[in-house]
């Protein structure tokens, strides 16, 4: 029982990181239909910038702010330089474009930060034990931050006029333009949100899971699978998907075989795409703009 709880808890905190990355996918896809394969790189970049900022003497909080701001700028630049100029954006074109950006970002991170994996200083190091289950403070931070960020993004997209306007762009681009919504600005806002959320994911994950120039690949893949569980359009679905994925991975590693851990995500992806392509958790989201 203790083992089960331990595995589930570790899975939840890992899943919360996937969830944050997944929210980034959703934030962009719901607005512009773009699948941003550089979402994982946003997280890796966020972690690396924060680590080097702390290394150069900034206090942790300031380093986090610098990291989030840097990634936000990168995301905005990416949108302006690679997404906005394309006249007829399709999902396929977006995949190719963002894959290119992702590769470029990876090369750049390797060049600037070198090949080693490093961890950011945790907010409070160490942890404690409850009923045999050991918990790291950082895991609680990850869960708390993921909860706040996902609630904020959910509230913005579902409950505010500006957020609804953004989502209208994907579903009825012509109608959206007719009522005076700027598609360009909407897409820019979406990337800004995705950049910030991605950076936060990277910064939160770094103290436990470490960051290197290539950690974005796995994070991006897992985040994408989590987002797919919500049909790529539901923040709630993405969060549930991320947590589910994290827990399933850890249970598989603990009870079946550690070698299968990374296979879980892809098995899940295949099952979902075959059985419920619109997502397991996100069915109602499309009808309610």
């Amino acid at each position: 029982m203790v083992d089960l709880l331990q595995l589930v808890f570790a899975g939840l905190s890992q899943g919360a990181v996937y969830a944050l990355v997944a929210i980034g996918f959703v934030a962009i896809f719901t607005v512009s239909g773009v699948i941003n394969l550089a979402q994982g790189e946003f997280a890796a970049l966020g972690g690396l910038v924060a680590i080097s900022a702390v290394g150069s003497g900034l206090p942790l909080l300031a380093a986090v702010v610098v990291a989030v701001a840097t990634v936000a700028v990168v995301a905005v630049l990416m949108e302006r330089l690679t997404i906005a100029p394309v006249k007829r954006m399709t999902t396929l074109v977006s995949l190719i474009l963002t894959l290119g950006v992702s590769t470029g970002l990876k090369a750049l991170m390797l060049l600037v930060y070198g090949p080693d994996a490093e961890g950011l200083t945790p907010i409070n190091p160490g942890g404690f034990t409850v009923g045999g289950v050991s918990i790291r403070y950082q895991e609680l931070w990850i869960l708390a931050v993921a909860a706040v960020v996902s609630a904020a993004v959910y509230w913005f997209y579902e409950r505010t006029l500006a957020g609804k306007a953004l989502r209208a762009c994907a579903e009825q681009p012509v109608a959206a333009r007719l009522v005076g919504i700027s598609l360009g600005r909407a897409s820019l806002t979406a990337f800004l949100i995705a950049g910030c959320v991605g950076a936060i994911a990277g910064v939160m994950a770094s103290p436990i899971y470490f960051t290197s120039w290539e950690s974005g690949l796995t994070l991006g893949l897992k985040g994408f699978v989590a987002a797919t569980l919500g049909g790529l359009v539901s923040v709630r679905g993405a969060v549930l998907g991320g947590l589910l994925l994290g827990v399933l991975e850890n249970l598989t590693a603990g009870y079946v075989s550690t070698g299968l851990r990374d296979a879980v995500a892809f098995l899940l992806l295949i099952v979902v795409l075959v059985a419920r392509p619109s997502g397991v958790f996100g069915r109602s989201a499309e009808a309610r703009v």
Binding site: D3, Q6, L7, A10, P115, D116, T258
Partner: protein, 398 residues
């Protein structure tokens, strides 16, 4: 510093070679003068290293060591007046990357000898190419399978079997009989459990639980929970940093108090940084390099090690890891052979096989036709970690 040849030149040279040698590539070797070797041009040494990917914490210091040594040799005027060119390739810590890089070095660059790879898996991928092309290769990795029955392949890191003999010796001294093993799922951890059981049989020591982790894994909760449940006398984490450090961390974090031993794969600063205070008290058999300043005055390796540590530190501002030491040994073995017998591959191979009492960083090498690794368990000392520093264990358990 790096003697990397620029890519444009490669293309030109490769194109010229393909055209020029198209008809006579195979027969050219029979003269025993393999590759490009005329006896006056530059000598080329190829290296395949894990510069990016899971093995980066090994490959980067190895590259630095090789570049440093190549620069020093250059300043001395090369070997017998011949320039020595070092060509370093990154295998991205993958098997196919290593095979590709090896093919390139052998076929395009026509190097005289190859160093690498940094880890077992990539080294195993390079081995058949070396054997087939009949080019001497010195791996920097651990698993004995790399040189088992090989003709052209040698290695400079301590064999895992030798390491395990040292560990079993210590366990027997402590009265431990059961081992919980968490091992790297790639080539480095392959066969480790079997060797533990085999070497430990006499002392009644056996492995009772095995957990695996990918070399780039980041979460170890599941493996460590299972180790905790196995309740062995001692747990062994067998991997390389950062994974080995993260595993150590998860171990301590779950509050497991069973003693831990680690392998010789952890001899670098990355491990100490990753594991932080959780490393305190672990025991690992490592090369003497990490405790260079604590060696007794009469240690035969002391001078070689301290010269290397000083040169490396002066160049890079940080001490060398044991992996840099493996690269040093590989390079010096190669240079020694090149100096003695020139670039004829068969002569090089024969010379390497006859190496005797060659004092290096990882130990004193004596190769034989049966043993292409050349190190015994005397090449290792038991080391523990105290407050983020490697410390020679007072009780060497032997």
């Amino acid at each position: 510093m790096g003697r990397r040849t620029n890519p444009a030149r490669f293309v030109a040279v490769a194109a010229a070679l393909t055209l020029g040698l198209a008809g006579c590539s195979e027969s050219a070797d029979t003269g025993g003068d393999g590759g490009s070797a005329d006896e006056s041009g530059p000598i080329t040494v190829g290296a395949v290293l894990d510069i990016t990917g899971a093995g980066a914490s090994l490959g980067v210091p190895e590259r630095q060591a090789l570049e440093l040594l190549a620069g020093q040799l250059q300043a001395e005027g090369g070997i017998d007046g011949r320039e020595v060119e070092l060509i370093i390739e990154d295998d991205q810590s993958t098997e196919d990357g290593a095979a590709q890089a090896m093919n390139k070095l052998v076929n395009e660059d026509e190097v005289d000898i190859v160093l690498g790879a940094s880890r077992t898996g990539p080294s195993l991928a390079m081995r058949p190419i070396a054997e087939q092309a009949q080019i001497p290769m010195i791996s920097l990795a651990a698993n004995a399978a790399i040189v088992d029955g090989s003709e052209w392949v040698f290695k400079s890191a301590q064999n895992d079997r030798v390491v395990i003999e040292r560990m079993i010796e210590y366990m027997a001294g402590q009265g431990w009989t059961t081992i919980g093993l968490a091992r790297d799922a790639s080539g480095f951890g392959e066969g480790v459990q079997e060797i533990f059981d085999e070497v430990g049989a006499e002392a009644g020591i056996s492995v009772v639980a095995v957990e695996r982790f990918a070399p780039d894994a980041t979460d170890f909760t599941a493996q460590m929970v299972n180790l905790r449940d196995a309740a062995a006398d001692v747990n062994v984490i067998w991997g390389i940093p950062p994974a080995a450090g993260l595993a150590q961390r998860a171990y301590a974090q779950l509050g497991i108090t069973t003693p831990v031993m680690q392998s010789h794969g952890i001899g670098n600063q990355v491990f100490l940084d990753t594991a932080a205070e959780s490393a305190n008290g672990l025991v690992a058999p490592l090369g003497r390099l990490v405790v260079a300043d604590q060696l007794p005055e009469d240690d035969p390796q002391r001078e070689v090690i301290s010269t290397f540590v000083d040169d490396y530190t002066a160049e890079y501002g940080e001490g060398p890891s044991t992996f840099a030491g493996h690269a040093y040994d590989g390079w010096q073995l190669a240079v020694d052979a090149l100096r003695e017998v020139g670039t004829d591959p068969q002569a090089l191979r024969d010379h390497l096989e006859g190496v005797e009492d060659f004092v290096g960083i990882s130990g004193t090498f004596t190769m034989t036709p049966e043993d292409h690794s050349g190190l015994t368990k005397d090449a290792l000392v038991l080391v523990t970690v105290q407050d983020g520093e490697w410390t020679l264990l007072p009780d060497q358990g032997a």
